[in-house]
């Protein structure tokens, strides 16, 4: 790897670089701290490669236009934070039911409401999963470093295209704004996935799943297929259907396309877990605090390990269950008042005792706090 590809870069900057490498050709958004760099860099770079950027009139329009861009056939992204993520929820549901590939970056900040606009938080974890109304499956990925922001963004585009779904990059203010070393791969070294489109003259039904496919093929508007997209429950033809049987089939397909492919979607990382008797589960920038603390605890003779979900949704259910069986106690460390801990409790059940360490006052968790909590409960 040549040295020219090594750079000092902000997380938000790495996200845009990766998006471009993944094939992003369209960005629509609205400025909001701490995600604004994503819009600024997209505005600067997209027209240079013939792509399009538009600053919309509000957050809702930002995601709506991005969905429109994707329907017209371009890989699209929008970015936001805090209040903006709340505003985008309805159309996240639209992208889910209409099965439109889209990447939504949420640089998490302190909330609720305007909250702590310039401070980090991880309080949107549950909103990422359940923020829009109704049942649906979602993919959310959380990076802990600038390099991982790059890798995850590529992955987010690939998953969006492969599964025809909105994918949320759930980063936070710490990762978004810090500058760190990144090694940008050569374009040829990256796997890029493009949505499957119907062939010319093909007998096409927009929501018909063909043998061997994971999701129905998606024709861009204007390619000669003249089909209908709606946020109503619809059948294979794309037209609305009030049939309860149809709604059941469609909802199950929408959910299972993601749930059944966990092996492909779920990413996680383990540190000193082999012989661990206690585990700390943490994600995003907080996992770095924990890693530091785990080293300290190990030096002091405690057999503690770190399990780090990279894919937040769908959760690494199988692996987390295994962690629960391996260890006696688990601490979930996150920058919120107790969110992902609920998912961990749901998965491990009575296999291990689960504790929470977190706060949402705008300050990151310090390694010493994790060490203290571990000593207290382990």
């Amino acid at each position: 790897m040549s040295k020219k590809n090594i750079k000092l870069m902000q997380g938000n900057e790495a996200c845009v670089e990766a998006a471009l490498m993944a094939g992003m050709k369209f960005f629509a958004g609205y400025p909001i701290t701490p995600s604004t760099e994503l819009a600024e860099l997209s505005a600067e770079k997209l027209p240079r490669i013939g792509g399009k950027f538009i600053q919309m009139e509000d957050e809702i329009a930002g995601i709506a236009a991005a969905i429109g861009g994707s329907i017209a056939g371009l890989k699209s992204m929008t970015a936001t934070s805090g209040p903006g993520f709340s505003l985008k929820q309805e159309n996240i549901g639209y992208a889910a039911i209409a099965e439109i590939p889209l990447v939504i970056v949420n640089v998490m900040r302190g909330g609720p409401s305007t909250g702590l606009p310039t401070s980090p938080a991880q309080g949107d974890v549950m909103q990422a999963k359940w923020g829009t109304h109704g049942d649906h499956a979602i993919i959310a990925l959380s990076p802990q470093s600038v390099m991982e922001t790059f890798d995850i963004t590529i992955k987010a585009f690939n998953l969006a295209e492969k599964y025809r779904t909105p994918v949320i990059v759930l980063t936070d203010e710490v990762v978004g704004h810090m500058r760190e070393k990144i090694e940008i791969p050569e374009p040829g070294d990256i796997e890029i996935f493009d949505r499957k489109v119907p062939g010319p003259g093909e007998d096409y039904l927009p929501y018909r799943l063909e043998e061997g496919d994971i999701v129905p093929k998606m024709a861009p508007f204007g390619a000669g297929y003249r089909y209908h997209i709606t946020g109503l429950f619809h059948d294979e033809t794309g037209f609305p259907s009030n049939s309860t049987d149809n709604a059941d089939i469609m909802l199950k397909r929408m959910i299972s396309k993601i749930e059944d492919n966990r092996e492909d979607i779920v990413m996680y990382d383990e540190f000193m877990m082999e012989d661990a008797e206690y585990a700390i589960i943490s994600y995003g920038s907080t996992a770095r605090t924990v890693r530091n603390a785990v080293k300290t605890l190990r030096e002091q003779g405690m057999k503690v390990g770190l399990f780090r979900p990279i894919t937040i949704w769908p959760s690494a259910e199988k692996e987390i269950k295994a962690v629960g069986r391996q260890v006696k106690k688990i601490i979930v460390a996150e920058m919120n008042m107790g969110q992902y801990v609920q998912e961990i409790e749901r998965i491990v059940k009575s296999d291990a005792e689960v504790f929470h360490l977190g706060r949402a006052n705008g300050e990151v968790l310090m390694p010493i706090e994790v060490v203290q909590k571990a000593k207290e409960v382990f």
Partner: protein, 180 residues
């Protein structure tokens, strides 16, 4: 912690302390070291006392924020009062020559350096004080090589200002040699 050096650069908003931090981190990376640069946003970033933080290390950095700096460099009285005390006991505080140490401040290793005056008089522009500071830190601590610092500076400053910034760097080196 011994393999890590935590640096906090403080000044007033607009003095380019973040740029200085970015340059130090970039130089470290060019030297094949590990580095992280971060800063605080919000009202702090708009005038008043502002700070930038850099961690330079020979191994992976887990926790990305500066906890207890080994080195604090401060260019203003206000920033010194706010951040000067954060330097760890055996750490080093570098302040501009006109700054009066707050009462009760008992840091043992304090160096007063004419950074602002050097920028103004020797380079001709107060705006390059941050680059003089970078030169000073690089030379005084030997954390990053001159070659990499120069490369980082030239990669980040506006076109046309390269000679002025190179001059600022070498003035920083000279200052460091004079106090060593």
């Amino acid at each position: 912690m011994s393999k890590q050096t935590q640096i906090r650069l403080a000044g007033s908003g607009g003095q380019g302390m973040i740029m200085a931090g970015v340059i130090l981190a970039e130089a470290a990376i060019l030297d094949d070291k590990i580095a992280i640069q971060s800063q605080s946003y919000g009202p702090e970033a708009r005038g008043g006392a502002s700070k930038a933080e850099v961690i330079i290390s020979s191994e992976e950095i887990d926790f990305p924020k500066v906890i207890e700096p080994d080195l604090v460099l401060s260019l203003t009285q206000e920033a010194t009062e706010k951040y000067g005390g954060s330097v760890k006991a055996e750490g080093l505080l570098i302040i501009d020559e006109d700054i009066v140490l707050p009462e009760g401040f008992n840091q043992s290793r304090v160096i007063k350096v004419p950074i602002l005056r050097t920028a103004k008089e020797n380079v001709g522009r107060a705006i390059v004080a941050n680059i003089v500071a970078v030169g000073f830190i690089a030379e005084f601590t030997q954390l990053v090589s001159r070659e990499s610092v120069e490369k980082a500076v030239l990669g980040r400053v506006p076109k046309g200002t390269e000679p002025m910034n190179k001059k600022a760097l070498s003035e920083g080196y000279a200052l460091a040699q004079s106090v060593k």
